[in-house]
Symmetry: C2
Subunit: 355 residues, 2 copies
């Protein structure tokens, strides 16, 4: 969970694809309102159909002065194939929102629309940062100890090479510095064991690089997927194949427990009574692991900041994605990552590995 | 969960490494006793120190006639490196138990000892079945709908090629036939998406093979890791890199929920009261997802049956592993897999892929 803006927080402009998401535009503008209440230094560009946006925006008097509607009646549908969506994206709310970042009118874009289309469009418009091999999808995970960890890549790629994993460590390290007040975040590589000899070649080879280079953080070795939610490291680096598998396994297990628990408390009168008594405790548990507080996947490695909000998010979920975007923008994420990637790529121990 | 022996169940002999596991030999012999009570057609060879086994066995009068102790005072320690353990394995309880299978005195071996040592020793002694590229570690997973799924490979390998994944589908299909009363078990490939174009090369290529060959089951396409616990397919096939990652992510998330739930019910008096009322319901939930009912990983593809029981298992957990071994032995798993792998390898659509 992100804390409210720091006292010295500067002005930030967030571009919102106000038409993207199951509950758009109400959830998007509602999310902006929640952020605005806690952090008045954030202002918004709302891209979408003004006939639908105006009535919603009118509900939030204080937000009105800080949000400008840029009208378009074109939008990307949720079920379009990314390639087709990209070709026909001119003047859509998603495309215009992204372009407002590349043209310098906004510091970051947030969309809850079609994930594949957003990723493709962000890559096309924002371009990769010089020297970065591949973009990576990153998100925050909750943890038992109240800490939270950054994990990447959650599925922008499948398998990648060792040098790319080392770059992901930099992308993730700067992310953790922006969000976690950690000057030297701990960085671990996801693997199927913790001994040096365990795991596929590209992972062992990446470990060899990471142990010998300077990073925006401290490399601490391998971590297994059963420790993702312990919060014991700040950054977990993985290829998209294992990372996406772990992410979905965690989601599926969460669903499994939630369903089983609900059945448990509705199956018989005694347990139901127990469930009512325990309601407050369970609500607190739900608050602790509420995915809405961890909403927001960021496509890292591009020349601009692009945050994907979950399509089914409500205003609270959208507000988490916006805060994530604002925190990265305030930290100067893109510039800092450029510098740190440049530093990585010129270190002898990186160069000698590549050779 | 395995059902008790079928009425026409034949005599089966299970070799037990009675010294392997945190609570051995009590948990091992206790587990044998639980199986014996439900299935009197199973008999046991107990390998270990007779001075420690006799007092435990004497507690179970009815088991005594069906269990024979083979004495050895040598055993594999839990912290030995697999290679070192293998070299010094002569006359250890683990080694003798495995050899009783290769020499035809037992139908399967169960051990709760050092996993790496057991895998290495089983491969050395039992050899790979002719034509099989790689062994795979398989286990049953619980599912929301009360069904259970077989998943492999859980970590005997890391990345494998497409032909090996196709072989794993056969290993898993025969496993499901043995355990789930399904003549045509459904078989899916674990992937990071369900569209044809998604995933790494070896997974997409394996899909191409599986869609075109005859299998001991029916290939139904890709499945993502968030659906492992839904029970919607009988067999989930994966390389060991993604499979082990998913397994550990599921375990870690289970731990996360268990800990959070416990904290919830002990944090304040009202929730505690609720927890007491809900106790019966939670007990039932615990029974449903109790890992002890799903204990037992089987190393498939070898010339004999070897089941790894979790090192921390109690008697109930050990009994699940023994039932798993007995069910596979009764089904004639090793012979059937040989036939079905042979059938796979001679099909034109498999051969043309490999060429």
């Amino acid at each position: 969970m992100l804390s409210p803006a720091a006292p010295n927080a500067g002005q930030i402009t967030i571009a919102l694809d106000a038409m993207g998401g199951d509950h758009a535009p109400a959830s998007i503008i509602g999310g902006a309102h929640l952020v605005h209440e806690a952090d008045p230094h954030v202002q918004f560009l709302l891209f979408g159909d003004e006939n639908r946006l105006h009535p919603v925006l009118n509900r939030y008097r204080s937000l009105k002065d800080r949000a400008r509607i840029i009208h378009t009646d074109k939008m990307i549908r949720g079920d379009e194939r990314p390639s087709a969506a990209l070709r026909a994206s001119k003047d859509t709310s998603m495309r215009l929102a992204i372009e407002s970042v590349t043209e310098g009118r906004a510091d970051a874009v947030v969309s809850g629309g079609n994930t594949g289309a957003l990723m493709a469009m962000a890559r096309t418009c924002m371009k990769m940062l010089p020297g970065i091999h591949r973009p990576a999808l990153a998100s925050l995970f909750p943890a038992k100890n109240g800490n939270s960890s950054v994990m990447l890549d959650l599925g922008a790629n499948v398998l990648v090479d060792a040098e790319t994993l080392a770059q992901f460590a930099v992308l993730g390290g700067v992310f953790a510095r922006a969000l976690k007040n950690a000057a030297q975040p701990t960085i671990a590589l996801l693997n199927v064991g913790t001994e040096d000899a365990k795991g596929p070649d590209h992972v062992r080879s990446a470990a060899n690089i990471l142990a010998n280079v300077e990073l925006p953080g401290r490399y601490v070795g391998f971590i297994e997927a059963d420790r993702i939610l312990t919060g014991e490291v700040d950054v977990i680096v993985s290829d998209g194949y294992a990372g996406n598998t772990a992410l979905k396994a965690i989601e599926g297990t969460g669903m499994f427990f939630a369903t089983s628990l609900r059945q448990t408390f509705t199956n018989d009168p005694l347990s139901m009574a127990g469930g009512l008594f325990a309601y407050m405790g369970l609500r607190r548990l739900k608050g602790k692991v509420d995915p809405r507080h961890y909403n927001g996947g960021v496509l890292l490695g591009l020349g601009g900041l692009c945050v994907k909000s979950h399509g089914g998010s409500d205003a609270l979920g959208v507000s988490s994605a916006i805060r994530l975007a604002a925190a990265l923008a305030r930290h100067g994420y893109t510039r800092r990552v450029s510098e740190d990637i440049n530093h990585l790529m010129h270190q002898d121990s990186f160069l000698s590995h590549g050779a």
